[in-house]
């Protein structure tokens, strides 16, 4: 019996970055955190880089890892 497979297209880093630029309201939900961006959404977030990256990888993504702006703490 033949099975239909849907193979997810791997996004480019430029596409993932553009999604972030286009959706500042999404990353603003996680101020001062690391986020993993893939599949047009934030697939994982948290304070430690490794935990966030591995969670996204476990879900099958090759994410763009980003850190978010914290409006309460300016970068000096």
């Amino acid at each position: 019996m033949a099975h239909a497979h849907t193979v997810a297209r791997v996004e480019t880093i430029e596409e993932q970055n553009q999604w972030l630029i286009d959706h500042p309201e999404e990353e603003a939900k996680y101020p001062g955190e690391f986020i993993a961006v893939a599949d047009d959404r934030i697939v994982a977030h948290g304070k430690a880089f490794g935990k966030v990256y591995r969670e996204a990888r476990k879900l099958g993504y090759e994410p763009l890892m980003a850190f978010t702006y914290d409006p309460e703490v300016e970068t000096l």
Binding site: I13, N17, A28, K47, G50, M65, F67, Y69, P71
Partner: protein, 140 residues
């Protein structure tokens, strides 16, 4: 290494400062065993680039033979790190650089001056919201 890359600043909002243009850029960091996509703050005030502990582990860095260092972050906290060699690809530009592999996983990835600002000419054109990166030339 060829061409040039134009990148926008990230525009974020601070309740005290208003609109803040943040020089955050996407790059591929390439280590001995793997590569990883991440955003880096382009920081002309940092002596050396810095990556968090697990990023170094994930791309296959090793402390064997690496120089152990300690740096001081802007806030005054000391950051222990190992100086390691990687490659970074920003658009079409691929450069070999030394990075500080932080032993702290909360460290934010930054691209500092060591190697990065030697190999690339970088214009911060904040007024027009553009960062222009191109291979370094000898022209003044």
């Amino acid at each position: 290494m060829s061409g040039s890359v134009r990148l926008p600043f990230e525009v974020v909002f601070s309740p005290r400062l208003g609109r803040v243009k943040w020089p955050r850029i996407s790059a591929m960091i390439i280590g001995p065993k793997a590569s990883l996509r991440a955003q880096f703050l382009l920081d002309s005030g940092a002596d050396v680039s810095l990556i968090p502990r697990s990023m170094g582990q994930d791309i296959g860095l090793s402390i064997k033979g690496a120089v152990k260092c300690e740096g001081r972050a802007v806030g005054g906290a000391f950051v222990p790190y190992y100086l390691c060699s990687v490659q970074v690809q920003i658009g079409d530009l691929r450069i070999p650089i030394r990075v500080g592999w932080s032993m702290i996983d909360q460290t934010r990835p930054i691209l500092g001056r060591l190697d990065v600002f030697e190999l690339l000419d970088i214009d911060f054109r904040q007024h027009t919201n553009v960062m222009l990166l191109r291979p370094a030339s000898n022209q003044a």
